[in-house]
């Protein structure tokens, strides 16, 4: 019989407490399971360097299943780089990532099966039709034909593109392409959907429309949504939890209300100002972007 000999501080124990009894081992397994289930994304001390330039600087965070999680920060803050590492497109310089329990570096295929992604720039084949793009995706993810057909119809209806399924993607507007990408990202029943600046360049109406789809899917299918944005009001309105990232570091995280409470500000905009000492502005972001580009060019650190 194993006993705890370490006394608990501030409490006098009368007798040693048995830790392992008939019920306990299962309790520990359940606890462990719960621990792993409780965060679908687990990031620890993640670093990414391009040459001399540190794009992501020792960030740690975790995301629970079914959560809508926002990465908020200016352009060039390290948001896309983080997403690329989470989705196996970039290899981290340091630190660990677990996505759905698997490591993107050592077991990329398991990780790839568990997420869907909508990139910042379109990633559709313009020369194929909407339906063909979906079919292509379904085949790549090895979905059986019946399931594929059924799910494609459902999702294309859901994003209101079923009537245009036979049209070539190059005839689509920006908003339609984005909707198609979302439908495609969801096709293989991912546990997590990553959206990198999903509403960039979309008009407010399309933006609202898109979020209503995603929120509905989050409710009905319990899918975890991880998105990056530099729109304050978007993060404020949709996200359950926000991490503010600037210059590659996470400066604050919590629910929108938490962040406002922590800073004593009424709006997230002011809270952001309080945390970072500056407002989100494109100008300075572009300078960082340029720096990163240069580091990429000369450092060559972006190739595996």
């Amino acid at each position: 019989m194993i006993t705890i000999s370490r006394p608990l501080p501030g409490r006098r124990r009368l007798s040693p407490v048995p830790v392992v009894d008939a019920a306990r081992p299962r309790g520990i397994i359940v606890k462990l399971l719960k621990y792993y289930m409780s965060s679908i994304i687990e990031v620890k001390d993640l670093v990414k360097q391009f040459g001399e330039f540190t794009a992501v600087d020792r960030i740690s965070f975790s995301v629970a299943p079914g959560e809508i999680f926002a990465f908020l920060g200016p352009n060039g803050a390290g948001k896309s780089t983080t997403i690329k590492m989470l989705t196996t497109l970039l290899r981290p310089t340091q630190g660990s990532i677990r996505l759905g329990g698997a490591d993107p570096v050592t077991d990329p295929e398991a990780v790839r099966r568990s997420f869907g992604i909508v990139f910042q720039d379109p990633s559709l084949d313009d020369e194929l039709t909407a339906e063909e793009n979906m079919e292509f995706h379904g085949m790549l993810y090895n979905m059986p034909r019946e399931l594929r057909r059924e799910r494609i119809e459902k999702l294309l209806n859901f994003v209101e593109l079923w009537d245009r399924r036979k049209s070539l993607v190059k005839e689509f507007s920006g908003g339609m392409k984005r909707r198609l990408e979302i439908a495609r990202g969801l096709l293989h029943h991912p546990k997590v959907i990553f959206l990198d600046e999903p509403t960039l360049g979309l008009d407010p109406q399309t933006r609202n429309h898109m979020w209503s789809y995603l929120q509905e899917l989050n409710r009905t299918e319990g899918i975890t949504v991880f998105f990056t944005t530099h729109y304050m009001e978007e993060a404020d309105r949709v996200a359950g939890r926000i991490a503010i990232i600037d210059h590659g570091k996470i400066i604050a995280s919590g629910s929108p209300d938490d962040l406002k409470r922590q800073t004593g500000k009424a709006s997230l905009e002011d809270a952001f100002l309080e945390f970072t000492g500056h407002v989100i502005r494109e100008e300075e972001a572009n300078a960082t972007d340029r720096l990163r580009q240069r580091a990429k060019m000369w450092g060559g650190g972006n190739r595996r």
Partner: protein
């Protein structure tokens, strides 16, 4: 298997959808075939080498194959720029199959293009030695197409954008074509030129087309096949390695 099939199918769909590309890429071979074939015909005959048009036919087939094949491989850069590459890179499949499917697709397109040029030549009076050997020649066309599509894909894996494209055309594709013996016989060349033709894999490709279509060969079909198979395998392996290293 599904991955290879869908990547292959995509290349074919794109090919059949762009009629302009199909017709456009027939223009150059046609010009070479007619202008050179008839223009140099009398000189060639006077030199006692027989019909230049007949000699040139297999060379021009080789030309259309190498151009289309390398171009198909290079299209990887477009996929990278227009973002589609990312869709394939985050899919839960081995990148080897993606690369293989793409390469097979590009090679099929290049072979179709070679067959089109063959029939175009037939329209203008080209007659193969034995019609029964034409299907075998088509298999060799596929092999040559595979070789150069893999080469194109491998090169494209190392390039970030289209800046290097012109460089590749001028310093790789054009030399490969001109030094392959597509336009002139390989015998009796100056030593340096002769050495260059020997290291050009397209020389062996075009030689095999000549062996099968007009019944003359410089290296012999067995050597042609050996070289083509080995070089194709090397390029496929190297191409796969480079492709698997791509980061976005």
């Amino acid at each position: 298997m599904k991955t290879i099939y869908i990547m292959w199918l995509r290349e074919l769909k794109r090919y059949f959808r762009s009629r302009s590309r199909m017709i456009g890429s027939l223009g150059q071979p046609l010009l070479f075939l007619l202008a050179l074939g008839y223009g140099l015909g009398s000189v060639f005959r006077a030199a006692g080498e027989g019909s230049y048009f007949r000699f040139l036919g297999p060379g021009i087939i080789g030309m259309s194959i190498i151009f289309t094949a390398i171009f198909s491989g290079i299209q990887l850069i477009w996929d990278r720029q227009f973002g589609f590459l990312k869709e394939t890179l985050v899919a839960p499949v081995d990148r080897f199959y993606i690369m293989l499917g793409r390469t097979l697709g590009g090679a099929t397109v290049a072979t179709l293009q070679g067959i089109l040029v063959f029939f175009m030549a037939v329209i203008f009076g080209f007659r193969p030695e034995h019609w029964v050997l034409v299907p075998v020649a088509i298999l060799f066309m596929l092999l040559v197409a595979l070789l150069f599509t893999a080469l194109g894909t491998g090169i494209a894996s190392m390039l970030e954008d289209m800046q290097g494209f012109q460089l590749i055309m001028n310093f790789l594709v054009m030399p490969l074509f001109f030094l392959s013996g597509a336009l002139f016989p390989l015998s009796g060349l100056p030593p340096v030129l002769s050495a260059l033709t020997l290291v050009d894999p397209l020389s062996y490709g075009i030689d095999s087309f000549r062996a099968l279509l007009i019944g003359t060969s410089y290296f012999g079909i067995a050597l042609d096949l050996g070289v083509l198979v080995v070089v194709t395998l090397v390029f496929l392996v190297a191409g796969t390695y480079l492709f698997s290293r791509i980061e976005i």
